[in-house]
Symmetry: C2
Subunit: 348 residues, 2 copies
DNA sequence: CTGAAAGCGCTAACAA
DNA sequence: TTGTTAGCGCTTTCAG
């Protein structure tokens, strides 16, 4: 099992290693006589030669790998993004090195260190929180970096993201068009662009229509079903009139909210409408099927990968920021407010 | 941004590179005088030195990376597995390189090539189908390899997997205990250990109880909601009595099946019981909440990682095969068969 | 078109 | 305890 090197191939083919190297390299192979190349190729074949990318990377100063950092691999929304990235990179024969931070800044720092030590040629990260700005700026100064999904305003790092402001607005306009005039939103974790944007878009659109918007913010660490349940409970326990509609900053939270409402005897959408965000798989199978905002994850991943690639190629002039449009998916968790609910409902 | 090398650090500290190397290496640093080490350390700090893993790998013959191959990143069940792997590897300062095959054998072959060219120190794969056996055997002959989730009987490659036979049996026993005597199973893709095992366990347990088991196999490529819908429709369109309970080989298929049944006016579980497999997130939020089999994904990942690690360390004597026990989670998609359904039901 | 030579950045004998 | 030396496997001038 002694690993076979280029030298072995060269010897078997009766040429110098430099010639063997040329013969095997995709772009330089034209510099080698047909016959010689064939001899090298068949020698390589015969020995089962497999180039050592480490050695090649060391020599060329490029590893042909891209570090990909995500916050949460379990987030069903991330699958398509990663697939988009992998596909775009695969075409160029780069290998994505995927890592997960679980949204911890310490973990992010550790991972960045590792990735830089691995000398990845570029980094794509979906895991940046505002508080990670300086860390990521440092990374970006060392290696071509692009943000995906989450922007980092003021960082100067190019980003491919969803238009979350528009997504929030979409949710608001849908509810407004159904006749809701008193809405609440269950805010995702602070410190993260995606949720900030959704919150802002929703709030502004509601306000612009002269309706009421209640923001419920809690000590949410992750936007999970439990977080949605907690925030919804907080909403229910507030004094004052209940809203007739709720915008949860993602689908998991929406599901938690629906559970909380049901516990208190409120039916969705009869008593209260709920809108989610992301359109993750199975949301259409829920009770009731969830009205939500769909995002083009695959496309986003693909664009992010293409952006790092052009940056690696040294093109700096690329657009610094791309935002993709979200889409409203109307299902059955939203409806017109019940006539008698408008204005006065008893939470108990 | 000229990248700073060990030589720079050594010069600044006024020592030889070899000394600098020793001072910075975790285990060799004791060979260096306290004072010298401190000088090196602060020089490194000052210059922002970051070791080049490529170079180090080339020299030591180890890359400190492990290739991780999964079939489908979107499968919610895989998240915990990857997390278990990442955690176990992180403790040893190895970097997992995660890749996805989308269950394509060609893609698997490409990925293995890349990983081997990267000279990963080990490989963990959850993506093997029977037809990939020889490919994976070749991989295993070049680098320590372990199978996770899916076994490859006869390959001789060590595996950490779930006891899918027991899982199938669990599903069967649950249905039998409810009084079902005519059951069907919607089989997952052929050529994959996990589904084979589930099928076998279920079939045997049903048979052992003297009940009837109908296997529905289709040209399923992936075990998706659509696949479940198709197979369930096939079941409904069969001539002969319908079963009173159905075991779908994963949760997605179970959901598809429930949809198909509902379309034909059959209520779950009143008219027909359904059991899924995996207990993926949100299955408890479905209508009805799904009875399913839960698997210890995180644990499995952790064990798989530990197994490659011991193999990398040269320990060959480790158990070649570990199977983890599944657990039945009873929710509301299963019930006793309706008295009048037992024996004669009209699909329309 | 091919070979000789010089490293990429690091580590590990082996000496001193 | 530290320095010297010799590469790991590959690519790329530079000559020929």
């Amino acid at each position: 099992m002694a690993t076979v090197t280029l030298k072995d191939v060269a010897e078997l083919a009766g040429v110098d290693v430099s010639t063997a190297s040329r013969a095997l390299s995709a772009d330089k192979s034209s510099l080698v006589k047909r016959a010689t190349r064939n001899r090298v190729l068949s020698a390589a074949e015969e020995l089962g030669y497999r180039g050592n990318l480490q050695a090649s990377a060391l020599r060329r100063g490029r590893t042909a790998t891209i570090g990909v950092i995500v916050a949460d691999l379990s987030n069903p929304f991330i699958g398509p993004v990663l697939r988009g990235i992998a596909n775009a990179l695969g075409n160029r024969d780069l290998l994505p090195i995927m890592t997960e931070t679980r949204d911890s800044s310490d973990e992010l720092a550790r991972i960045c260190d590792k990735l830089l030590a691995q000398r990845v040629d570029g980094v794509i990260t979906t895991a940046g929180r505002y508080r990670d700005r300086s860390l990521l700026k440092r990374v970006a100064s060392e290696v071509p970096t692009v943000l995906a999904v989450r922007e980092l305003p003021g960082s100067g790092i190019p980003a491919i993201s969803h238009d979350d402001v528009a997504g929030g607005r979409l949710a608001a306009e849908h509810l407004l068009s159904l006749g809701h005039t008193r809405c609440a939103q269950l805010m995702g974790p602070e410190d993260i662009w995606s949720f900030e944007g959704r919150g802002q878009g929703f709030r502004e659109a509601i306000a612009a229509a002269g309706a009421t918007c209640i923001d419920i913010t809690g000590a949410i660490r992750l936007p999970t079903v439990e977080a949605g349940l907690d925030l919804a409970t907080e909403l229910l326990d507030r004094s004052g009139r209940l809203p007739t509609a709720v915008f949860a900053h993602n689908d998991s939270m929406a599901i938690g909210a629906i559970g909380a409402f049901r516990e208190r005897g409120l039916e969705v959408p009869a008593d209260i409408s709920v809108v989610g965000y992301n359109d993750v798989p199975l949301t259409d199978q829920l009770r009731p099927p969830l009205t939500t905002i769909r995002l083009p994850g695959y496309e986003l991943g693909r664009l992010a990968a293409e952006l790092v690639l052009t940056r690696i190629d040294g093109v700096e002039s690329t657009a610094e920021k791309v935002v993709l449009a979200p889409e409203l998916v109307v299902r059955q968790s939203t409806a017109r407010p019940a006539a008698d609910t408008v204005g006065h409902v008893d939470p108990n």
